[in-house]
């Protein structure tokens, strides 16, 4: 049971309060140039997904809270969340590898206080 912090409203809660939305930062080609989307671009947009051992940037929604979508960076090895950030923000630079050491609850707690006051 993952522990997640919504960067929009600052709420911290079990993953059952949230909704997982898969890989983040996927561009929809038709939004920018609907007339010139190749079959390959459409295929990549619809079906090609990363499956990294390490940091995965992903979409979550604060389903039972403020209802807003946001992004998270999660280490798929330790399950630790490295960052929570807004749906319009670019992926943070986290070095891109899994960290063997983590102290997840403490870090998220600190983040909650910050977000809660914002």
């Amino acid at each position: 049971m993952l522990l997640i912090t919504c960067p929009v409203c600052g709420v911290e809660g079990d993953e059952t309060e949230f909704h997982a939305g898969g890989e983040a930062h996927i561009k929809r080609p038709a939004t920018t140039d609907p007339e010139n989307v190749t079959d390959e671009a459409q295929r990549d947009y619809l079906y090609m997904r990363k499956n990294p051992r390490g940091i995965h940037f992903e979409r979550w929604m604060c389903a039972r809270g403020c209802g807003k979508w946001f992004h998270a960076a999660r280490d798929t090895v330790t399950m630790e969340f490295k960052a929570f950030y807004g749906a319009r923000e670019p992926a943070p630079d986290l070095g891109g590898t899994a960290s063997p050491k983590a102290a997840t609850p403490r870090k998220t707690a600190a983040r909650r206080k910050k977000a809660g006051g914002a």
Binding site: L3, A30, P105
Partner: protein, 1017 residues
């Protein structure tokens, strides 16, 4: 089963034995139908042992007689079933079941009875039951497995499941704490006290009914008091505190990511009267802990020697526990066999209790230390450099007569002749293993400790600290300091700056006898001729012997994980509590590599089994799943509604009147709609308001057709595609104002579509200014359909003009109707003149009955979902989920008119242009008329290119909707057929199960009122 009384007299050893029981009160219980007596505070195991009972069950594979080995969760043998009938629960450890008056227990895994067991024949055939026996024997021929399986399962099952519904209640409870302490022994108490002193919210889970752990069998003092006294005062302080929650009778079953734990509290198992008062039987705690302190202690491990499974061979600490806690001796004359100092405490306790200890057998050549001196002073006969090699028993292995001992050399060799020592029980200790199961459930890695010869916690990613014996810190003083420091550190880490520091106090000071090092001993070879009787059991519950492990290695298995699966070592409810390390110890000789290189198997949750009822919690019967009710639900219920689930909604499928069947009811409802007027509860339809300057543009991107051009007060049917280009929802959207729309979705799609709209606004089209508010729950909505619908409305007081001229098809008006505020729409899903009237939900019941009263003179009927579906099928209207299945485009359905060619972009547009989706000959929607009008095609029937005697046949499509039409008095169907629109007039064949073939003609998918005149009234 002899009846010798083994309960020690109250006055023995200054009255210190049997501290947990109330000797004055007596309880009566039954085991296999025989009545036994015990005292409050007893377990089933202790009470039966007090009556001289040794035999608790038969082993899993060989059906050998088995008795109690441990005193707690580690017990692999004494599995019993408790409770009768629907309350029957199998596989409980007799050592953990608290006694109450009237308890009913049964033995397991024996037939026809415990004492005369037919399966014990397996013992004689044990050459046929080597490691991997099941794999080798029953895998061929494959077809016979079903037959073998039936017999094996019946003979070898671990108890039986109850067959009747569980009458008890269960529930879940959530909690968040700063520090969760697992284990209520002295280390857990010290950790909890330390953590609580900082102001942290602390939960302390203890598996048994009592706190203090092994305080009562360990000697030593804490803060100058006996351990039990100290434990009592700390537990009392913690109970009074307002930031601590004590959970007795609670196992920490599993540890999951980010310190989420499952705890099982056995609330009323020990006292059924609590359940009568409304208490649940079990409560499953779902706990999120900022920090965890694991103080789960250690479990003693046995040493394997020949016939080490005879009833009466038990762990040394268990023997001591039975004496100290329950005043029960395992026998009258016991040999103690050890490789470490702790078992000397058992020899001393037995001696103090007046039980004879003819020999203390120690594998070590020169043990020294305070406990050894104490034993010598007590006059105990100590044989050093010696091992127990075999157990002699009579009565089919049930009664121990003697043990054989022989000189033992370091490394495992027997060097010299055997001596026979008369005894009736054996206490064995091979050292202690930390209980690190929870530590391993997520990320914890164990490391091997050469001194302790066991695995200890190493590194973890979790906010989890292991203290005391669970961490391999067996010295009392060191363990308590570690626990105290761990409690403080955990609390500070959880609380950060808000932790109080002043009242933290000092770590408790403990004193106990210093203990010398143990000698690693896993296996003592038997002397003399090896035969089947001389089995060295490693895993008692799964009947795995040392020979099985050696055989597995000889057969080429190297990985411990493979050996485990091949031999079944460490599986089932026991999860290797007493066997894992011993197995590795045996394998280290066979594989000739050290234990750390062999590695250990994985501990998986739950630590001990948890009940299915607890997992289900409250979610049974009426609370099995959330059920949604529409505003007139009670009317439906009172008027014969035959409900069907639609998502979580319950909708009337039809209304059964005066004993009619479904078919008659549906016919009545449909004919009323076609000939007079009928009323449908359509409140479940999804309703979403959209408002903002970009609402029109947004709808143009969401729907495949255009909505920005819709005029205020007008309605339009629209299709929604997913990004794959397939139809996902449909409905009518109305323009309420310049920048304000009301969308209708399917009943099943309402929540999903609201989420879909939000997702696009929040994650893709950031520039669009649109607010989306789902309003489904606010409105009751009813369809009033039929040629007399307008007459009903015109009877009622209203400021709305319902006339044909005043209220055009596909338009909407707001106003009042018989005093109800309403939104009225002229839309039709039945093909008849139809109005859909929405009113705020609390007015729903009132408006519903108002319509029925007003319509009575016109013959109004309420109609359900099946009539609705037939009415729409007669008109050829699609239902998303029937005519579409996630692979169907609007073009396939012939809905080209609702797919815009002008718009540069909308969801799904680009995918519709992919080669496969725009290809010729795709499955297309057609109508079907069976050649025999009385025949109704089965739902989902396949049309084939050519009927053959047997499958496979080339399938060219399938029936999507099929009904008997009361209106047309014949069958009708819709289907998706390859290249269907080019097959008009063809006759297709539908082979059915049983060889029948139905034939149907392909027609346009519309069967009634082709010109659409009826909906105009």
């Amino acid at each position: 089963m002899t009846g010798k009384p083994y309960r020690l007299p109250a006055g023995v050893a200054g009255g210190t034995m049997g501290r947990s029981i109330d000797r004055i009160q007596r309880l009566s219980f039954s085991f296999d139908g025989k009545t036994f007596a015990g005292h409050p505070g007893d377990t089933v195991a202790s009470a039966m042992m007090a009556s001289g009972v040794r035999l608790f069950g038969r082993s899993f594979k060989y059906h050998r007689p088995r008795g109690v080995i441990g005193s707690a969760a580690d017990e692999p043998n004494a599995l019993i079933s408790v409770g009768a009938g629907a309350r029957h629960e199998p596989n409980l450890r007799a050592t953990q079941v608290e006694l109450f008056d009237g308890l009913v227990a049964r033995s397991q895994n024996n037939w026809p009875s415990l004492n005369w067991d037919v399966g014990a024949f397996n013992s004689k055939l044990s050459r046929l039951f080597p490691a991997g026996f099941y794999y080798k024997t029953f895998m061929w021929p494959a077809s016979a497995w079903m037959f073998y399986e039936h017999i094996i399962r019946r003979a070898a099952g671990l108890g039986t499941a109850p067959t009747r519904p569980d009458p008890d209640t269960y529930e879940h409870m959530h909690a968040t704490c700063d520090v969760l302490v697992v284990g209520g022994g002295v280390a857990g108490l010290a950790a909890a006290q330390a953590a609580a002193s900082t102001g942290a919210r602390v939960m302390l889970a203890e598996e048994t009914a009592r706190f203090g752990g092994s305080a009562d069998i360990s000697g030593g003092t804490i803060d100058g008091k006996p351990q039990t006294e100290w434990a009592g005062s700390v537990a009392a302080d913690l109970a009074k505190a307002d930031n601590v929650h004590l959970l007795p009778r609670t196992i920490a079953a599993g540890h999951f990511h980010q310190n989420w734990c499952l705890l099982l509290e056995r609330v009323s198992d020990h006292d059924p009267s609590l359940a009568d008062g409304g208490a649940p039987r079990h409560r499953l705690w779902r706990v999120r802990a900022k920090e965890i302190v694991l103080a789960s202690g250690a479990l003693e491990r046995p040493i394997a020697f020949a016939n080490n499974d005879r009833p009466g061979v038990l762990l040394a600490s268990a023997a001591r526990t039975f004496i100290a806690r329950y005043g029960v001796s395992p026998g009258t004359r016991g040999v103690v066999f050890t490789n470490n100092d702790d078992a000397y405490r058992t020899a001393l306790a037995l001696t103090q209790a007046g039980v004879s200890v003819p020999r203390l057998v120690d594998t070590r050549a020169n043990p020294e230390g305070a406990l050894i001196d104490l034993a010598r002073d007590a006059g105990i006969d100590i044989a050093t450099g010696t091992a127990v090699t075999n157990v002699e028993a009579s009565g089919g292995g049930r009664n121990i007569e003697a043990v054989k001992v022989a000189p033992y050399q370091h490394g495992g060799r027997i060097a010299g002749g055997e001596e026979r020592i008369d005894c009736d029980f054996v206490c064995v200790s091979g050292g202690f293993n930390p209980v690190a199961h929870l530590y391993c459930h997520t990320s914890g890695k164990l490391r091997f400790d050469e001194t302790l010869q066991t695995f200890r916690p190493g590194e973890t990613n979790d906010a989890l600290r292991v203290v005391g014996a669970a961490n391999g810190t067996f010295d009392l003083a060191d363990g308590l300091k570690e626990a105290f420091d761990g409690g403080i550190a955990a609390a500070k880490s959880a609380l950060g700056a808000s932790a109080k520091s002043a009242s933290a106090g000092k770590a408790p000071k403990a004193a106990s006898e210093h203990e010398g090092a143990l000698e690693p001993v896993w296996f003592v070879p038997a002397t003399g001729t090896l035969n089947e009787g001389n089995k060295h059991f490693i895993d008692f519950q799964n009947d795995v012997t040392a020979a099985d492990l050696e055989l597995a290695v000889r057969e080429g298995y190297r990985s411990v994980e493979h050996i485990k699966r091949y031999t079944t070592l460490g599986m089932a409810t026991d999860q290797g509590k007493t066997s894992n390390i011993n197995a590795l110890g045996v394998l280290t000789d066979t594989l000739q590599s050290p234990i750390p290189q062999i590695g250990t198997t994985t501990f998986r949750p739950p630590y001990t089994p948890i009940s299915m009822g607890a997992i289900t919690g409250t979610k049974t019967k009426r609370l099995f799943q959330p059920v949604r009710r529409t505003p007139p639900y009670q009317w439906h219920l009172d008027n014969g509604a035959d409900f069907e689930p639609v998502g979580q909604w319950r909708r009337p499928y039809s209304y059964l009147r005066n004993g009619e069947d479904r078919e008659a009811a549906i016919k009545r409802e449909i004919l009323a709609t076609r000939r007079a007027v009928a009323l449908l509860d359509a409140s479940t339809l999804g309703k979403i308001e959209l408002k903002g300057p970009d609402a029109g543009e947004f709808l143009d991107r969401i729907y495949s057709n255009i909505f920005s051009s819709l005029k205020i007060g007008k309605a339009r049917y629209g299709l929604m595609l997913n990004e794959d280009g397939f139809l996902m929802d449909d409905g009518v959207t109305v323009r309420l104002g310049d920048d304000h729309f009301l969308m209708h979705t399917t009943s099943g799609g309402s929540d999903r579509i609201a989420g879909w709209l939000e997702e696009w606004l929040q994650t893709e089209w950031f520039d669009l200014k649109v607010f989306v508010t789902p309003v489904t729950e606010q409105w009751a909505q009813f369809a009033l359909a039929g040629p007399k619908a307008r007459k009903v409305l015109e009877k009622l007081d209203s400021n709305i003009d319902f006339s044909a001229e005043g209220f055009e098809f596909l338009s909407m008006k707001e106003g009042t109707l018989a005093g109800h505020p309403v939104r009225a729409f002229r839309i039709s899903f039945s093909g008849e003149l139809s109005y859909e009237i929405a009113t705020p939900a609390d007015y729903g019941m009132s408006l519903w009955t108002t319509f029925l009263e007003a319509g009575r003179e016109f013959g109004i009927e309420a109609y359900g979902t099946e009539a609705l579906h037939i009415l729409r099928a007669e008109k050829g209207f699609i239902v998303v989920g029937d005519e579409s299945d996630g692979t169907v485009t609007p073009i396939d359905l012939g809905l080209n008119w609702a797919v815009s060619k002008k718009k540069p972009d909308y969801l799904g547009k680009r995918s519709l242009q992919r080669p496969h989706q725009s290809a010729e000959g795709r499955k297309q929607l057609v109508g079907l008329l069976t050649e025999d009008p009385q025949q109704v095609l089965p739902d989902g029937a396949y049309a084939v290119a050519q009927v053959k005697d047997a499958p496979p046949m080339d399938m060219i499509g399938q029936v999507t909707s099929t009904y008997w039409s009361p209106t047309l008095e014949r069958s009708i169907a819709m289907a998706l057929i390859e290249d269907g629109r080019n097959r008009m007039g063809d006759v297709l064949e539908f082979p059915l199960e049983g060889g029948e073939v139905m034939r149907a003609k392909v027609v346009e998918p519309i069967f009634y009122d082709r010109e659409g005149e009826r909906q105009n009234g």
